[in-house]
Amino acid sequence: MSQKMSSQAYADKPARSANMKVVEGSYAVAHAVMCCLPDVISAYPITPQTHIVEHLSQMVADGELDSEFLTVDSEFSALSVLVGASAAGARSYSSTTSQGLALMYEVLYNVSGMRLPIVMNVANRALSAPLNIWNDQQDSIGARDVGWLQIYVEDVQEAVDATLQAYKIAEDPAIRTPIMVCMDGYILTHVYEPVELLDKELSREFLPPFQPENILDPSDPKTFGAFADPTTYTEFRYLQFEAQQKALGTIEKVAKEFEETFGRYYGGLVDSYRAEDAEIVIVTMGSVIGTIKDAIDAKRAEGKKVGLVKVRSYRPFPVQALRKTLKDASVIAVLEKDVAIGGEAGLLTDLKAALYNSSIRTPIIGFTAGLGGRDITIKDIRKIVEKADAARKKIESEFEFLDLRMEIL
């Protein structure tokens, strides 16, 4: 058991219900959204998110899903529609990626500041320029400070399950914070995989109806979105900060509740694979985990003690959980599909900061790879392991582009 990631433990079991189907990732997510019974959906098409909203549109058109689906003029308007809908009491859903997420930027802050528990799937994709429609995670990592919770999923099943969990976390009165469920575009949105689709009844039991304290209502005419001056603004931000800290517990709690109802668990904040006795630990997020696990198995066969830590909750950043899981590593290598141009990269920077004031004095090196959809191969992971091994004695490079094509530079 200790050698398996928690999700793996369940995936090995035979199909437990008739809901196990081979479907497209986008369909599986759309189906999960349907099981969450959103009142209002608003989204704008952008590759590779499009299939999610097309499936939802079809479900609404077929009367399978009783939601208001608003087709709008932009992602900016899509999320803005949900501000109004959510303030009027609607469970609200959107999905986007890349340019669309960037266009939403101003609204993202607004939604979290107004404490509207909107859930959004981000089908992670690269940002222009140059224009590129393939997967990486620059889009949502770039939005790490907008006040939303961010969960990064590893496979389609987790995307499905995390979407249902997301509403329960977001709508918790102590949290009231929007969530992005981030899934790698194409790799997870367009893949056909056996997925256990959510059971509608069980989902309804798991997720209570949305009951906000205040809504726009003439019988109790409150003002939403007032203007705060320096005497109060800090406290509004502090409350958001505090809610994210509380969410560390809620994310874990909801993951456990989900396990009780549905029998699947992915770790709440973090998860690990063969990490207990690992000397070299790779830390990462998202779908690349499958490849890393294969590489780890191979390395283990060669006698190298390599393990993996998966960051599932990137916001809130699980500082304590990471300190605990990483305390015995002798070297840490962070692999991520984003780059903070002018700095290093999001996960690397956050992890270093998380460990700095702890007793952990392990060398940490970072790699960006897979930008704009470039494949991350087992060979790449082997390279990481070798570099990490060497870094135990001397760090040659603190941060590098792992898969640079030197020949075209």
Binding site: E68, L70, F76, S77, S80, P218, F224, F227, D229
Partner: protein, 291 residues
């Protein structure tokens, strides 16, 4: 008059037309109304946390998305079978410029939303910069008069025509100086089963610089000169205009405000005055104001 649905204690400049406009709109719409407002003088002066001047439910999100936010509100009310008015009250900056995409989407989707623009013809909240609504040759802080400039080089954008191009079933222009007309138009708009747009001339004492107390008089002059026709369109057809029996010369209106002062000081101003008079004359002819 019923108890006002806009409370006193708001922070609008003394003599601003915006609060009077809101009062009149709310008076006609009544308490069963939800208001959505974009960022503007209205927002900062009426909702300084922890206070609000609004006695109806009110929401502000951003500068450019009020119509989209209102769409979300309206759709959720419909879902709950609630018959509540949804009214956007926003400035010309959000209406004519930055919120155009969101307005266009709302109009096109046909939501039952009344959009009221209180038009003070510039970005006042940020200190009187030009907007797409700023009239020809008016000075703002970004279209000042100078050796190479006579103020705003372009005429005002025709926002009612843009609304009508979306087949908005009810469109009207109104003025803070004509309260009976404004209230009637708000009531008519709220009866429409679809979007409606009312553009209200609402002078800004700070940006237009007129004498204390003359706010209503300035707004009235805009109508009496033919520069601001009070018109009403149903399904794109002009159904009513307020007649201006003997139109006043535009100079009377322009002279009442500091933003046009340069036209009376600089020699090139004379020609501009003729051009502005021609605009008023064109309105008078087009809307048959003088008949």
């Amino acid at each position: 008059m019923e108890k006002s649905l806009l409370a006193p204690g708001h922070r609008a400049c003394a003599g601003c037309a915006m609060p009077t406009t809101i009062k009149l709109v709310l008076d006609a719409a009544g308490p069963n109304t939800i208001v959505v407002s974009p960022t503007s003088c209205l927002e900062v002066t009426t909702t300084p946390f922890p206070e609000s001047a609004w006695c109806v439910p009110w929401i502000h999100s951003l500068f450019e998305n009020a119509a989209a936010v209102a769409s979300g509100v309206e759709v959720m009310l419909k879902r709950k079978c609630k018959d509540t008015n949804v009214v956007v009250i926003g400035g010309d900056g959000s209406t004519f410029d930055i919120g155009m995409g969101s307005n266009s989407g709302m109009f096109e989707r046909g939501h039952k939303i009344l959009y009221v623009c209180y038009d003070n013809e510039a970005y006042m909240n940020t200190g009187v910069q030009r907007s797409g609504s700023t009239p020809f040759c008016a000075q703002t802080t970004t279209t000042p008069s100078g050796s190479k400039s006579l103020g705003n080089p372009r005429p005002k954008k025709d926002m009612p025509a843009i609304a009508m191009a979306h087949k908005v079933p009810y469109v009207a222009t109104a003025s803070v100086a004509y309260p009976v007309d404004l209230r009637r138009k708000v009531k008519a708009a709220l009866r429409v089963n679809g979007p409606s747009y009312i553009q209200v001339n609402a002078p800004c004492i700070t940006g237009w610089t007129f004498d204390a107390g003359t706010m209503i008089e300035v707004a009235r002059l805009a109508v009496e000169t033919g520069l601001w026709p009070l018109a009403e369109w149903v399904n794109g057809e002009l159904v009513g205009v307020k007649k201006v029996r003997r139109a006043k010369p535009v100079e009377e209106y322009l002279k009442s405000q500091g933003r046009y002062r340069h036209l009376f000081k600089r020699p090139e101003g004379a020609d501009i005055l003729k051009q502005i008079q021609a605009m008023a004359d064109a309105n008078i002819a087009k809307y048959k104001l003088a008949d």
